[in-house]
Symmetry: C2
Subunit: 112 residues, 2 copies
């Protein structure tokens, strides 16, 4: 008999505060022990792996998605250490358009 698939739960879209809390629960103790700049080193390592995935893997592939997840998770670790609320920070700067020219779409000349 074929195994029944688990019904896919319709999850509410992940919020940034929920992400920061989840990453804190999993990593904050160790992140604190390592410190901000040590943690920054790990983040940059993931940024490097993202570069490789962007060059070598298929757009939107599981491999690329995993590297985006790692970058975002380490960025959340850093934000937790710094005491920065990512949702608030990005809303303040980017809600409703470009932080510099204030338009949507952005019309800055410098971002080519």
């Amino acid at each position: 008999m074929p195994r029944k698939r688990k019904p896919t739960k319709r999850r509410a879209p992940l919020t940034l505060p929920a992400l920061q809390r989840e990453i804190a629960r999993t990593f904050l103790t160790r992140d604190r022990r390592r410190g901000v700049m040590g943690t920054f080193g790990w983040f940059v390592e993931e940024v490097g792996e993202l570069a490789t995935a962007l060059r070598e893997e298929k757009p939107g592939s599981r491999e690329q998605a995993a590297e985006f997840a790692d970058c975002l998770a380490w960025l959340a670790s850093l934000a937790n250490l710094a005491g920065v609320d990512l949702a608030r920070a990005v809303t303040r700067k980017y809600a409703g358009g470009c932080a510099r020219c204030k338009r949507q779409p952005c019309r800055c000349r410098s971002k080519k």
Copy 2:
């Protein structure tokens, strides 16, 4: 007469899909023109600015928050270009604990 403060709206916490949509509305046309690796260059520039802010600014300051916002916005630009859903990617890898040891808190020996 003192100016009345705008009543602070209680916003629902920002979701990752909403962030990706907002960044797409503001930047996707230009991001596409620039391409993935060109956009990656801008992202890395922001990563460098985050390093400076983490070293030089007060933890949790507006200056640090602004650099976190920039990193996250460029990461969202890259995810939009690659066709990666950040919420899905990070949930798949980090919901409920460490991607490697599967525990919460993480007990990997290698992440020191």
